[in-house]
């Protein structure tokens, strides 16, 4: 990532796909914390025992798809039969092929933590590095790999809240044969992120874009993409940073 390529968090969000040589762009309005919170409520994981096998299922995709459809404002690149644009039809959202919607919805949370080689403890805060795919107006999906989040260390109570949430589950159909259902921990992780974040770099917040590191915590809490919050907080609490 060059220095001027920072991830623009505010404004419309583009998700760009290439299908049989044609470029498809989905344009979404900014996904707010409230939108993500609603999606997080739908996300859960199930683990079922069948004999000696353990089967894992999750509802993340359906929740992401619902969020994607809710925020989708327009689509560019599809051709309708007989000419014209897909957008000319009142049910244009329903006409988009499901595999395309599913691929685009998956890209909403294509962000992951990057292992930092630096083992030294920084008294100014623990840094977590992320990389993410994010669409541009020009029809590309760029990989941003200089996204850094700096945190205060979590205290024991915050760690307990996380551990307690992780240990909560329900068993349906009997303890020996049933499946365990885990509700998503995303909302709690986003909450812990807001409590612990000190600064971020690699992001731009629209008109309030800052050079280098942004230490405006209120701005970060309001504008940071919630999936980035979740992944960074999870890495802080469970990754190498937590073990340090």
């Amino acid at each position: 990532m060059s220095q001027e390529q920072v991830l623009q968090l505010t404004g419309e969000r583009y998700i760009n796909l290439e299908k049989k040589g044609a470029k498809i762009s989905f344009v979404l309005s900014q996904i707010t914390q409230a939108d993500w919170t609603e999606a997080f409520r739908q996300m859960r994981m199930e683990v079922e025992r069948q004999g000696q096998d353990e089967i894992h299922r999750n509802d993340y995709e359906a929740a992401s798809l619902a969020l994607f459809e809710k925020k989708l404002q327009r689509v560019e690149g599809y051709k309708a039969k007989g000419g014209g644009s897909l957008m000319d039809f009142p049910n244009w959202k329903a006409l988009i092929p499901l595999p395309d919607k599913s691929a685009a919805a998956t890209l909403l949370h294509s962000v992951g933590a990057v292992r930092l080689e630096d083992d030294e403890i920084d008294p100014a805060g623990t840094s977590i590095a992320l990389e993410a795919f994010w669409g541009t107006k020009e029809g590309e999906m760029l990989k941003f790999s200089g996204l850094t989040h700096r945190f205060n260390p979590p205290d024991l109570k915050q760690y307990q809240r996380f551990k307690r949430a992780v240990s909560e589950s329900r068993v349906v159909g009997g303890s020996r044969t049933g499946k365990t259902i885990f509700a998503g921990r995303h909302a709690l992780l986003a909450e812990l992120y807001d409590e612990l974040v000190i600064a971020v770099s690699g992001y731009s917040f629209g008109a309030q874009a800052s050079e280098g590191e942004c230490a405006d915590v209120e701005l970060i809490k309001a504008q940071m993409d919630a999936i980035h919050k979740v992944v960074a907080a999870r890495e802080l609490l469970t990754g190498d940073a937590a073990a340090a």
Partner: protein, 134 residues
């Protein structure tokens, strides 16, 4: 719908199985390496799979209760707020841990856990006093 945090008897059983799993983990890892190179590896893997009889959520809860116990043992309890279900769960896990420690005493030489009836330590090969022996 069962909430594992409220099923105290289930938690005690899960804790015992969890500790037994942890004890046999190095041996299982060794057998897994052998299975990877063996022709009937899949069958071998089935035989050495962790012996767990309860739904997955029980073991996740046990991990948390063991963590909570360790925090209390470190004297950090003053910082933590304990719920009734956690206190009861920790009691169940403690009972399971006591039973496990009784069935797998530590070698006085190297500290490794062994079967109570083992004549020698599996790790340092030191001769062990049989439980109940004069």
């Amino acid at each position: 719908m069962i909430d594992p945090s409220k099923d105290i008897a289930g938690l005690q059983q899960a804790a015992l199985e969890y500790l037994e799993d942890a004890l046999s983990a190095p041996d299982r890892a060794r057998q897994e390496r052998i299975a990877a190179e063996s022709k009937n590896g899949e069958r071998v893997l089935r035989n050495i799979a962790a012996k767990r009889t309860l739904s997955h959520g029980y073991y996740v809860r046990v991990e948390y209760l063991l963590w909570l116990l360790s925090m209390i043992e470190l004297g950090l309890v003053a910082f933590l707020q304990i719920l009734a279900a956690e206190a009861e769960g920790m009691q169940a896990v403690t009972l399971a841990r006591n039973q496990f420690q009784d069935e797998h005493p530590c070698c006085p030489g190297c500290g490794a856990r062994n079967e109570a009836i083992a004549p020698r330590c599996g790790s340092c090969k030191r001769e062990l006093a049989m439980k109940g022996a004069a």
